[in-house]
């Protein structure tokens, strides 16, 4: 299993293809397998050298008790890029992975050429969003309530509260919750729950509204057609120097799963516009 040690930690990564570098960053509670399930690795590696890694606390990377803010994990991303001797890269991030990607681009603008941010929710832009637009949240809240975990609309973004409650479930409640989310998901959550990941994910950590607006790299803001974060989509398109917005038809917050084919096509097309020298190879999908 490909692993590298950097920033004092073991990170699991996968790499494929050749050409300009692209780095894929998954979201909280996920792992790099989403890039395989969605065929992002297979398609993008036709024209690019694609690297995907598991965030700390996720997949087969080391779990740490702390260090999950976007600033911390942007540091991880840069350490990984250094360790793999990647000089400059385009970043594709989903959900909190997109927040990490943007923070990375702002910390090291000379290293990051372009960004695809898929359904990000930035802590500094939380005030833009109206949770009532997210039907999925209401369903999830009902399922969680049946398992004894209370999630409030007021703190919908507060993964910390969620993890805290999950950590304190016992006996029957634990079994019901485990049945509701499935064993693999449950194991992932139980591993993350004792860490500061939940609390850190809502920290601005230096990624302020002003800093977000100062991004100069080209950005594709890719959002599900029914995403709960469409106000963020409009904001980025309006305020960033070079941001275009695209919607993934039929998707909510998880476009790489909900409409993988269209998601990957939009990412691939955009990356090719940023790197015309990359060989364009159309696969039959």
């Amino acid at each position: 299993m490909p692993k590298l040690i950097t920033n004092g930690l073991n990170f699991h990564y996968q790499q494929a293809g050749s050409g300009p570098d692209v780095v894929l960053i998954h979201g909280v509670t996920g792992d790099l397998s989403i890039w395989f399930l969605s065929q992002a690795m297979g398609v993008l590696s036709q024209s690019f050298r694609v690297t995907a890694y598991d965030l700390r606390g996720h997949g087969y990377s080391d779990v740490t008790p702390t260090g999950y803010t976007s600033a911390d994990q942007a540091g991880d991303a840069l350490a990984i890029i250094d360790a793999l001797e990647i000089d400059r890269a385009m970043l594709v991030g989903h959900s909190f992975g997109a927040v990490i990607a943007m923070h990375t681009a702002l910390l090291a603008p000379e290293r990051i050429e372009a960004l695809v941010v898929s359904d990000p929710s930035f802590p500094a832009l939380r005030h833009l969003e109206d949770l009532s637009r997210w039907g999925h949240w209401q369903n999830f809240r009902e399922e969680a309530a049946q398992a004894g975990v209370t999630l409030s609309d007021e703190h919908w973004y507060d993964l910390g509260r969620f993890f805290d409650q999950v950590s304190h479930l016992d006996g029957d409640q634990l079994l019901r919750f485990r049945q509701a989310v499935g064993l693999p998901g449950f194991n992932r959550l139980m591993r993350l729950a004792p860490t500061t990941c939940g609390a850190d994910a809502k920290e601005i950590a230096g990624l302020t509204e002003d800093l977000i607006r100062s991004v100069t790299q080209p950005v594709l803001g890719l959002f599900g057609e029914f995403s709960p974060f469409l106000a963020t989509a409009d904001y980025l398109a309006e305020h960033l120097a070079h941001c275009v917005k695209e919607l993934v038809p039929g998707a909510k917050h998880r476009a790489p799963e909900e409409n993988a084919a269209k998601f990957v096509d939009l990412v691939y097309e955009y990356l090719l516009t940023q790197q015309p020298r990359a060989q364009m190879v159309r696969s039959t999908r």
């Binding site: 790099l32 395989f36 399930l37 693999p184």
Partner: protein
């Protein structure tokens, strides 16, 4: 292409890899019907790591991308060990 390895041997190799590299406790009771996720409690990330381990074991690149994409297309996103054995056998 005729595989030089019988499927029973491939099944044994996979069970061994699951035990030694993925920490699967019940590898002695794995058969062709065993489901990767529902029965073994593994996740898609484990499938990625298992694919890597199988390729290292046979010292051969195998088109695991296709298999992962197939899993991604399924509603239940699961795979039986029998399907995995057949895939490996076909491509060795």
């Amino acid at each position: 292409m005729i595989s030089v390895r019988p499927e029973a041997e491939i099944l044994g190799d996979i069970a061994s890899i699951l035990s030694t590299q993925l920490g699967v406790q019940s590898s002695s009771s794995i058969d062709l019907e065993t489901r990767f996720f529902a029965d073994l409690g593994l996740a898609s990330i484990d499938a990625v790591v298992l694919g890597e381990a199988i390729q290292n074991h046979y010292n051969r690149r195998l088109p695991f991308n296709e298999l992962m994409a197939e899993i991604g297309r399924r509603a239940n996103r699961d795979l039986s060990i029998g399907e995995l054995v057949a895939f490996v056998s076909e491509h060795l």
